[in-house]
Amino acid sequence: MADRLKLVLIVALLCAGTAVGAADSGAGAPNFALKALDGKNHRLSEYRGEVVLLNFWASWCGPCRSQLSGLQEFHLRYHDAGLAVLGINIDEHDHDASDPASGLEFPILRDTSHEVSELYDLNRLPLTVLVDRDGLVRHVYEGKEARSSDAYLADLRELLRE
């Protein structure tokens, strides 16, 4: 029993020592729960087993708005293959988000308190994070590299094939 306790403590210390940044590739995607524009609540951990595309955006960010149609296309094309697209809007008011989001069929979650944005180290918009089926952050695209959804299509398809 004493040996087992020692082993447990060593594992615990190792786990504590290997903690990594929130949105680092390979790290576990920080869990969160947010309310969507349609009133439903979504929790990231409930999407375990699916590839999740998190896209942080705001209505005042032109490149963010222009990539929404591409994300909608991804949602339609790969939803059956196990892709969940979650848009995370950081606008202050619902009505700012609802206009650009009209016609989108994937959930638009509202991060009004910016708690989730902080969890994912949001510095530049748009920010796209690809989370694999095991809940690990695999790819992060920020700012310029996240503007075109085609830029991460190959990575996305690779994750869906896994």
Binding site: R4, L5, V11, A33, L34, K40, N41
Partner: protein
């Protein structure tokens, strides 16, 4: 033991070729080829024998490896459980532990959206419930919303329930209870139930004995 078609042809040729000196070289060549064929066959048989004896060994190896993997998985699960218990014991010793649970009884008059918990006027938990989670509560599940340490003495817990009430109206109600924290863990339950007579939801905070 069947012989390969090429070898059979060689034997046929050898027997039908006659015994004249003109055919001697050809016969010799056939004999050499036949010998070569036997040698190849022998090598093949040997290889086959080795393979057949190696196959069970490989199978045994695979089974052994599978058992080892299973044992390793079990060990990891045991370790994980020990780690969890140890973490609970270290972070929340029984003397100071307070845990708050949320449960739902029927819940026809209330669609739960979120629960906010305040202990001694300090917000300690704010939880959004997804569809799956409320479904689980409806089925009898109990959700541990908050665990912490509190010193002995009197404390007050206030819970705010937000959701959609009767007639699709937004609903926010509070419930509170004062409790005495003594020696030993304290467990509190926030229950959402229906008051059929008034067609309204009811929110109760109660202590587990």
């Amino acid at each position: 033991m069947p012989i390969s078609p090429i070898c059979e042809n060689f034997f046929v040729s050898d027997h039908s070729s006659g015994r004249g000196p003109a055919n001697y070289g050809i016969r010799k060549m056939y004999r050499a080829l036949a010998n070569l064929c036997f040698a190849v066959m022998a090598v093949c048989l040997l290889a086959l024998a080795q393979a057949s004896s190696a196959e069970p060994a490989a199978m045994e190896g695979a089974v052994g490896l599978d058992e080892q993997v299973q044992a390793l998985k079990k060990e990891v699960m045991d370790l994980n459980r020990d780690l969890f218990i140890l973490e609970e014991e270290l972070l929340f010793p029984a003397n100071t532990q307070v845990a708050v649970f949320v449960s739902m009884d029927v819940g026809e008059f209330f669609a739960l959206d979120s629960v906010q918990v305040k202990v001694d006027d300090k917000e300690v938990a704010n939880y959004l419930y997804t569809e799956h989670e409320t479904e689980a509560l409806h089925r009898g599940g109990v959700h541990k919303i908050f665990t912490s340490n509190l010193r002995s003495g009197e404390h007050e817990i206030v819970a705010f329930f937000t959701g959609v009430g009767p007639h699709g109206r937004d609903y926010r109600r509070g419930a509170s209870v004062k409790f005495e924290k003594g020696i030993g863990a304290k467990f509190l339950e926030l229950t959402i139930s229906d008051k059929a007579a008034k067609a309204q939801p009811e929110f109760i905070v109660r202590e587990w004995e």
